[in-house]
């Protein structure tokens, strides 16, 4: 069979000139702005990565997870403890913290994965809080209690290349965010991403369509947690310390907002949401004490006028005419 070569799939977001401009802007930005703003953009990157990781669970599969910071905490503490106690290089700990967070997610989510909606939400809140409280109580004297763990190394490749200043950290986080976006966009367009969306739309129909709902939900949790673990690793090395207070419930709510503001299941949306959460307070420093008020009001207005988020995922970009041998036998 000869394949019809006139496949016009205009579904690559990489071809979009807007994205090219954004990428170029991101590359030259550190040379224009001062260190403070580079740091702000670094944290924007961390939130973007966290938002993307939660987006898998919340956006793609529609599982309410309000304890996502717990996974990040596992990644951050795995990095901190293994680095300060055993001196394992950070670059090796990057995948290890992802694995640790993923394994933790698998362990705690296996028994609760069948819960629906609000019930799952409550359990994940509990899980996040338990992680934080456990770290706070310094089990076996390894987490350092409320003070946390100090003296984490910078990420480095031997002694040749050390990521030790704001600009390098900026490139580092955005490189990882870029790779993550690449992977997630591919995933969205695969049968895995489709299966996740099907589960979000209708669980019974998804199961009857041949999707192993339980496994795919777990997969989403493990992948999401793994990415959050990576974010935890980078966060810990940037601050050179971790403490339980960084992973409180409010932060989990912030992540939730990132996905809701941006648009569930939309990758550009998550980036916008992360920008709103991390840049907004910087621009409005003067209104610092009214921050949450403005933020809450903005959320309400958003939910009324744009319930799908600022940039909801656009579907139906598959415009090809025909993939079959005989083109033009359109009917219907």
């Amino acid at each position: 069979m000869k394949l019809n070569k006139s496949i016009k799939e205009k579904d690559s977001i990489f071809k979009n000139w807007l994205i090219i401009i954004a990428v170029i802007l991101f590359i030259i930005l550190p040379f224009i702005i001062n260190t403070y703003w580079v740091d702000v953009l670094f944290f924007f990157g961390v939130y973007a990565l966290l938002g993307l990781s939660l987006n898998i669970v919340l956006g793609e599969v529609g599982l309410f997870d309000l304890g996502h910071m717990g996974f990040m905490a596992i990644g951050a503490y795995a990095t901190a403890i293994l680095n300060t106690t055993f001196g394992i290089p950070i670059i090796i700990l990057l995948p290890i913290s992802a694995l640790a967070a993923g394994a933790f997610a698998w362990l705690v989510c296996s028994p609760i994965i069948h819960l629906r909606g609000d019930y799952l939400c409550i359990v994940t809140i509990g899980m996040g809080e338990i992680v934080r409280l456990t770290l706070n109580n310094n089990p076996f004297g390894i987490t350092g209690g409320p003070n946390g763990v100090f003296g984490i190394d910078f990420p480095s490749l031997g002694s040749i290349f050390v990521i030790d200043n704001s600009t390098k950290f900026y490139y580092y986080i955005w490189l990882i965010v870029g790779l993550t976006i690449f992977g997630l966009v591919n995933l969205q367009r695969s049968r895995i991403g489709r299966a996740w969306n099907c589960i979000r739309e209708d669980e019974v129909a998804a199961e009857s369509t041949g999707i192993d709902v339980r496994s795919y939900k777990l997969l989403a949790f493990v992948l999401g947690a793994g990415l959050a673990g990576v974010a935890g690793n980078i966060y810990a090395t940037k601050l050179m310390m971790v403490s339980p207070e960084s992973f409180n419930f409010m932060e989990s709510c912030m992540l939730f907002c990132i996905v809701l503001i941006g648009g569930m299941g939309s990758i550009p949306g998550v980036l916008i949401g992360a920008a709103a959460i991390s840049l907004f307070p910087e621009f409005f420093r003067t209104f610092a004490q009214y921050r949450m008020l403005i933020f809450g009001a903005a959320m309400i207005v958003m939910m009324i006028f744009r319930p799908g988020g600022i940039w909801p995922r656009k579907r139906g970009a598959v415009k090809f005419e025909s993939l079959l041998m005989k083109a033009g036998e359109e009917n219907g």
Binding site: A205, T209, G210, I211, V213, L323, E330, G332
Partner: protein, 282 residues
Amino acid sequence: MAKENNNMETMIRTKQENEEINKINKVVLQTDKLTKKFGGLIAVNNFDLKVSQGQISSLIGPNGAGKTTVFNVVTGIYKADGGKVLFKGEDLAGKKPHQIIKKGIARTFQNIRLFSNMTCLENVMAGQHCRSEEGTWTSVLQTPGQRKEELEIKRNAEKRLKQVGLWKWRDELAKNIAYGNQRMLEIGRALASNPDLLILDEPSSGLNDKESEDLIIFLKSLLKENLTILLIEHDMNVVMGISHWVTVMDEGKKIAEGSPEDVYSNPQVIEAYLGKDEEEEE
């Protein structure tokens, strides 16, 4: 294929010949003393059903007779409380819905259950989930194997969408297309898994006469694909028009089975549908 010819012939055979063929024909799906209880209510009670290869079988009965429950047990959504479901001789007990569709039983729902916020094409592509196997990492990296499979999925989806006549709506969200089209899309999604047995739960409900007629023609055309069809139906025109074999159910039990003509004139069936004549004593 020989079987295909056979199917075509079956459709024009007389009643007696039909019955003979039923005996010869391989039974694809069989339930054996199937029982399902919801608390104190026995929804399905020692129910025997058989569906022969290459035929359209119908399951009819008044509202609340337990027809959909039978379907849900067969497709693994409910667990049976007793009895067996045999598909091609294999016991389906304890199998989950996603395993059952892989064995070759695809279904549609009485209240259409599409993936509303996904496009029609994506719906049909999702239907092929159980016939594809690329994993997470190959998808993340989009390996050549994964691309090839994805293309294959798209081509199959295109074929099925054209078959149900919805190709022009491929990029439309499933929730936005007309009701009749949604029904066809759901059938298309079920067909996308290349099933051996297609179970349709009231496919003609909510359709107008013209659409029902088209549906009958469409279902008949499916038999050419070596497909077996089991349907629940209320519309007597549809049942009489296409069924080779009809099973009648009331209050969880089988009250009659046979060719449409037999069943139509069966007094017990008339009683179940229209109620008992008061003057006749039991």
